[in-house]
Amino acid sequence: MASLKDLRNRIASVKATQKITKAMQMVAAAKLRKAQEAAESARPYAERMGAVLANMATAAAGAEGTPKLIAGTGRDDVHLLVVCTAERGLCGGFNSSIARLARDHARELLAEGKTVKLYLVGKKGYDLMRREFSDNIVERIDFRGVRQMSFGEARQVGRKVLDMFEAGEFDVATLFYSRFRTVITQVPTVQRIIPADVPEGTEMISDGSVYEHEPSEEEILADLLPRNVSIQIFRALLENGASEQGARMSAMDSATRNAGEMIDGLTLSYNRQRQAQITKELIEIISGAEAL
């Protein structure tokens, strides 16, 4: 049985922890609002880009010399998995659920005899993946010093992916991130970025009218497709940012609640023990008096 002093110390330490988790929760809530705004304001661009791309891709499909970024290399032997995770932990299952999804995917591909290469964005992803796939990691990057993700960071990642593609280092690229749905639900998501995945049901703007292109259609596609890769990565990073804060907020909320419960339990046993000790002392005095 712990002594009264031990109990007092434990209560004090749990209270201190509770203060920290509470503070983290509030910080996450404030950051979440900003991250959510950023993710939402990036959507129109990505959507319009998707619409333009869908238009041009359907027009270009089947034609001779379709760019490789749409048509693929014609093989699917080497897969590049771009796994986006957070820089910090203490955000519930956020990092591990993305890592688990990527790991399952990688194992499946390996079982089929394909080559898997990993590009890890974010420090936590590296920590989680290096044990099993240390030989497959070709590249990693973290944005620890970056406060607010801007398009510049995404372009940096995108350019690297494109350079590798042009050098023929992989055939298919897949992006792993967590889509932000609500504060309590984040959905780990897989998205193919090379060859470009034209989303089903994208609203077609062209009503059969013939577009004029300037410069030529090929040149526009050559400019648009690489940019699309960066845009998709940018979007993933922003969604991830919002998801991370959401996950951290709910994780810290339940940690704060847990700490509260623990404090209640500890206080109860502390009081009980204190009372028991008083009673014991009383009995000692009374029995001492009676003995006289």
């Binding site: 333009v52 398009f151 703007i205 004029e212 292109h213 300037e214 400019d223 648009l224 940018f234």
Partner: protein, 136 residues
Amino acid sequence: MAETFQFDLVSPERLLMSDPVEQVTVPGADGQFTVLKGHAPFLTTLKPGVLDIRSEDGASQRIYVRGGFADVNASGLTVLAEQAMPMEEVNAEIMAQQITDAQEDLADAGDDADKRAVAQKRLDDLKDIQRWLKVE
């Protein structure tokens, strides 16, 4: 009063503008062009330059864009800009920074002739704008 059409200006970070306007002059890669209502469907890349927008009430607004796409279709004009900011916010310092960036890109391009050409062109366009800013 001329008829208006829907004009959207979006950058990767946010939606900057979504209003009915009367006319917009766009710096296309092969030359400037002006869009009025009923323009034929048209898709083009942009070079760094200035969007000149005349809105419904005749007020005009100028926005600096650095590359991107313009898409004209039946529903209006959509400009997907790589970077965009109102002309009032653009000053010599920002332009100098952009030119430095472009010069770095050119240096990074190395021996790749295509990349060099693209970077060189961008640098020239930016220098044009800088000259033009100084004249104003």
